[in-house]
Symmetry: C7
Subunit: 95 residues, 7 copies
């Protein structure tokens, strides 16, 4: 099963918060505030949203920062997704 | 009797939450938070909504994710429906 | 005396909630939550509402579902009416 | 002195609530909830209101139902008036 | 010093509430709720306000009724003024 | 260092409240409610603000009355400024 | 890794508040209210934002004052950034 977003919605999957110790060991994030970093999993078609043309700018695979209070959490096949409007995505993280 | 939605409204019927045990036995959802998954039962005609043209994108039979706080619950002939605006539908679930 | 609604208003009269026992006896609704089903009694002319063209889609005699928190209750000649905007009507009930 | 409303405002004068007993005697309303029925006393010129053209549809002498929480109460020469926007008038009462 | 209002603002000066006793003696208002009657002292130029053309309809010297919760009180040279938008003026009082 | 406001912003510097005693002695304002009078220190370029054309009407050196709850206080080089939108300026004070 | 803002967003990095004592010694800000001064680190492309054309006016390296309650704090590679809309930037500080 997969999620096909409507309109200007984007399906995100949160990235695991990791912490690298000085010795280089990576500790998976635990008891930490949820990061607002996520990976784009699916992108809606854009088009007329509330009477205004929206062009989609993000692509599947993009790593993004999204607005803290935005989005709806959805669980599908035991995976948790967040569905946001593209306007709730603040920036793309480039390597 | 059937519900014929006006404007950009969509009539939904909530999908039963099911849980499959490891042995394959399906247990009907009980004491679980209401899932936001539903099936489209009827679709309004769209058209001018608050002065803006709305084109309907969902179809009867679609399985959808809708926004948690949206919609009006309606009971007709002992069946419970939720009537939402199309803009409250976040994504279609494809098999 | 009769109510002639202005603009995109619709005058509704609430339908009596009835309950049919298994034996077929009909018990008038009592101590039950007010249903949101009503019959259309009068329909405004539509036209420009807040600068946007509204076309009236419901007709006198239609049975409709309306939004729970919408409308103004009005009593005239000992009959109680609800006056709503057409946009507060969610769906028409067809037999 | 008289009130000349601006824009889409309408000056109303509340109608006395009356109660006719079965014997036909009319008792003036007392300790009753204020009815939302009023008579139109003066009508503004309409025109551009918040950038949108408004055409006045009510006339002096019309008996109308107005929205419960709308309007400003004004006292002039010991008479109490309510000034509302035309959009707060829900319906005209016809005999 | 004088106040020159910008945009669609109007400078008002509240009228003294007076009470005429039956014998014709006029008692200046005291311990009474502030009347919403005021005299227009200065009128802004109108023009584009929030992207919408506003034409000024009131003139200096007009006696007006204004909306209870509108306006900013300003003291200049020991005189108290109220600055409102023209849309907060409900009606002109004509003699 | 100087502040160059963007868009329809105006940089203000509050005027010292002064009180003239009957004998003509001027006492600098103390323990008094902050006056809403200020002098214009810098004016933004105007232009398109939230999609609407804004023309700047105030000039550096103007003494103005501004809306009580508007603006952001900013300290630069130990001087305190208030940055407001031009629409928060109610009137210019002319001598 | 770097942040590439979308739409009318601007990535800011807060400037360290410093305090110069009379003797000329600079003390780094400590226990002081966070200043709203920041340096522009990255600027979005502008374009259509909520249906309205936005032209970007700030540039990387600009020192700016931004609105106190605006923006989202983001941490990347142990550096803290604030992402705001350009409309939340009140003024540029020029030397």
């Amino acid at each position: 099963m997969k999620l096909v977003p409507l309109s200007d919605r984007v399906v995100l999957k949160q990235m695991e918060a990791e912490e690298t110790t000085k010795s280089g060991i990576v500790l998976p994030g635990q008891n930490k505030e949820k990061p607002q970093q996520a990976e784009v999993v699916a992108v809606g078609p854009g088009g007329l949203v509330d009477g205004k043309e929206v062009e989609m700018k993000v692509s599947v695979g993009d790593k993004v920062i999204y607005s803290k209070y935005a989005g709806t959490e959805v669980e599908l096949d035991d995976v948790e997704y967040i569905i946001v409007r593209q306007s709730d995505i603040l920036a793309v993280i480039e390597a």
